[in-house]
């Protein structure tokens, strides 16, 4: 077992990408993710890799599309507004069934917004984000160790399903330092017979998302949906800390889930029976885990740093008869463990009939 070393989240992410065999990075500066391209610009040439500072995020994502179509593991990173510019390319990549990784170190939106930590891009990340019926594979780390591990996982899943993947983080995860074990896992590398490297020893191949013939596009869309169903069945990632006879279940993801973990410990210290579910893959969403847990626990609190985006998915996953509450802090507000504890206590004390929202 390798020793643990102190590392910043963004550096762990970059090292995870290198470990996964990603030797191509295309990006454009935007705060608060600049330390990722800066690190790659130094590190990739040492590895015989390619770093390009593109003229825009629009160009970055299309360079990624080209590198992916050529069969390489490649990535880009950006933040809110830049990720918005990439949506066209992400839609084309999903439509063309190309893998690739995009990292979103989320800013506060809408608009130019702000650079403090936020989880306001949950909808954009998990609903596809661009035009058409498609999804991204979205993983949400909550530690520096996971910035490393889930980056590797994202490349593997992206190749496995031939679909772009996203790491959804924020400035807390990018900037914080924690001990990390840079494990050297057996990285999955799949053959890519579909990649374009020139028609040598085979007929010409084509990568496209345009289907004009009658019925072709409907068939293609159902094919994509079938992939997402398989992804849901085989590769949903979730951390569930459940106990018997829970008073309340708390659901939270990403950096916010770290604060919730502290609040849950405090609540348990006060004798409250609290369960916690942390979706690690936001798409596919671990709705089944939530459904099963809420067969018994009927009070469900969602805590997130936006106006209640994941709350949509939580409410769609509940067993009948649950009370769902939301503790939301948009715009860079970060809830403290004590504030969350208070919310947990109030919800537990509240009568069944006074729930803010009943599903």
């Amino acid at each position: 077992m390798r020793e643990r070393i102190m590392m910043r989240g963004s550096v762990a992410l970059a090292e995870g990408a290198l470990m996964a065999g990603c030797h191509y990075y295309f990006g454009y500066p935007i705060t608060p993710q600049n330390d990722i391209p800066e690190y790659f610009s130094q590190r990739l040439p040492q590895q015989g890799g390619i770093f390009i500072q593109a003229e825009s995020e629009v160009a970055s994502i299309n360079m990624l599309l080209g590198a992916a179509a050529a069969g390489a593991r490649a990535m880009s990173s950006s933040s809110g507004p830049g990720i918005s510019l990439m949506q066209e390319g992400l839609s084309y990549m999903a439509g063309s069934e190309l893998p690739g990784l995009v990292v979103n170190i989320t800013r506060i939106g809408p608009g130019l917004g702000g650079i403090a930590p936020s989880q306001g891009d949950y909808w954009q990340a998990t609903r596809g984000g661009g035009h058409g019926d498609y999804r991204l594979i979205v993983l949400a780390p909550n530690s520096v160790q996971e910035m490393y591990d889930l980056t590797i996982k994202a490349f593997e899943l992206s190749d496995k399903y031939r679909n772009p993947a996203m790491i959804l983080g924020d400035a807390i995860l990018g900037q914080m330092k924690e001990p990390v074990r840079l494990s050297d896992p057996k990285i999955q590398h799949l053959d890519k017979p579909w990649a374009l490297r020139g028609a040598r020893g085979r007929g010409p191949q084509l990568i496209k998302s345009l289907y004009l013939k009658d019925g072709e596009m409907e068939k293609h869309n159902w094919h994509l949906q079938e992939k997402y169903r398989k992804l849901q069945d085989a590769d949903t990632l979730v951390e569930a800390e459940l106990e018997d006879a829970m008073d309340i279940l708390v659901v939270s993801f990403g950096s916010c889930s770290r604060i919730v973990q502290s609040a849950v410990r405090l609540a348990r210290g006060k004798g409250i029976r609290v369960g916690m579910i942390r979706p690690i893959s936001l798409f596919p969403f671990p709705g089944k885990t939530i459904y099963e847990a809420t067969q018994t626990v009927k009070k469900v609190l969602t805590v997130e740093m936006n106006t209640g985006q994941m709350w949509d998915d939580v409410r769609l996953s509940l067993s009948p008869g649950c009370q769902a509450r939301l503790m939301a802090r948009p715009g860079g507000g970060i809830p403290s463990p004590l504030e969350i504890l208070e919310e947990i206590e109030n919800f537990v004390k509240a009568g069944d009939h006074v729930a803010k929202s009943v599903c």
């Binding site: 191509y24 295309f26 390619i50 390009i52 593109a54 003229e55 825009s56 629009v58 160009a59 970055s60 299309n62 360079m63 990624l64 599309l65 080209g66 590198a67 992916a68 179509a69 050529a70 069969g71 390489a72 490649a74 066209e88 390319g89 084309y92 063309s96 374009l196 490297r197 020139g198 028609a199 040598r200 020893g201 010409p204 191949q205 084509l206 990568i207 496209k208 998302s209 345009l210």
Partner: protein, 250 residues
């Protein structure tokens, strides 16, 4: 008897979907002749933009990757950086290259990416039905300039070859025409030159083709080639605007 002309091997033996009098088919053939000449069919990857040229894969016997509208040079950059030994070209029209994709082509050229860009300038958006393009001539009527292009509201037609020739990263930039057999022969040489530049790692090569879109010009093919000579060529002069003799890293 000696055979002096044949269909290039790289060209798929089928009927083009292009309208009568359209020059896309000619451009396709010239690209195929260059592919045959340099024997690079098995390592060439074509990246068409969005427009009438998107069906490149139906006609050329090579690997093809579609690109979003205007983004072909960025996609080509990704390919070329992964596969530096392959021949990578984009195939783009007026709107794709001169409007929505202006940023991508300028910066790809400026980085000196060792790729070839084929630019078909027919003064209109062809596939979408003949709207005004950045290359539409002043006074030219289109479906979105029904009173004729007016510089006071629509600006001026853009001369892409000259503009790109100003960039240090560009190895070769030229404009050719396809309105007579003699011009097609010259255009053939230009395509060969562009491929040759790429094979010699000289940097970014660019060939702009003046071509006709009879359907959207509302003309027959004969009137169209006359218009090319009389109206397009005075504004879009033919010639080589940049030709590097040694790679810039030497």
């Amino acid at each position: 008897m000696q055979k002096v002309f044949a269909k290039p091997e790289a060209l798929i033996d089928t009927t083009f979907h292009f309208c009568p009098g359209c020059h896309h088919g000619t451009v396709h053939r010239l690209i195929c002749e260059a592919i045959d000449h340099y024997q690079v069919r098995e390592k060439t990857i074509g990246i068409p933009g969005v427009g009438c040229g998107v069906f490149l894969y139906d006609y050329i016997h090579i690997d093809v990757c579609e690109a979003p509208h205007g983004r072909a040079p960025a996609v080509a950059t990704g390919f070329k950086r992964v596969l530096p030994q392959n021949v990578i070209f984009t195939y783009q029209g007026d709107g794709d290259l001169g409007a929505i994709g202006m940023s991508e082509v300028v910066h790809t050229a400026n980085r000196g990416e060792n790729i070839t860009v084929i630019f078909v300038n027919n003064n209109v958006y062809g596939m979408t039905g003949g709207q005004m393009a950045p290359t539409t001539l002043l006074g030219q009527q289109t479906t979105t300039s029904p009173y004729g292009r007016d510089f006071q509201t629509d600006g001026y037609p853009i001369r892409m070859a000259e503009m790109l020739a100003t960039l240090e990263g560009v190895a070769f930039a030229c404009r050719v025409s396809l309105h007579t057999a003699a011009h097609v022969k010259k255009a053939r040489k230009a395509v060969f030159k562009a491929f040759d530049m790429q094979l010699k790692n000289m940097g970014f090569s660019f060939v702009e083709f003046l071509s006709a879109c009879p359907t959207n010009w509302g003309m027959n093919p004969q009137q169209s080639v006359e218009r090319m000579e009389e109206e397009m060529m005075p504004y879009y002069p033919l010639g080589t605007f940049k030709e590097r003799t040694a790679p810039d890293y030497l």
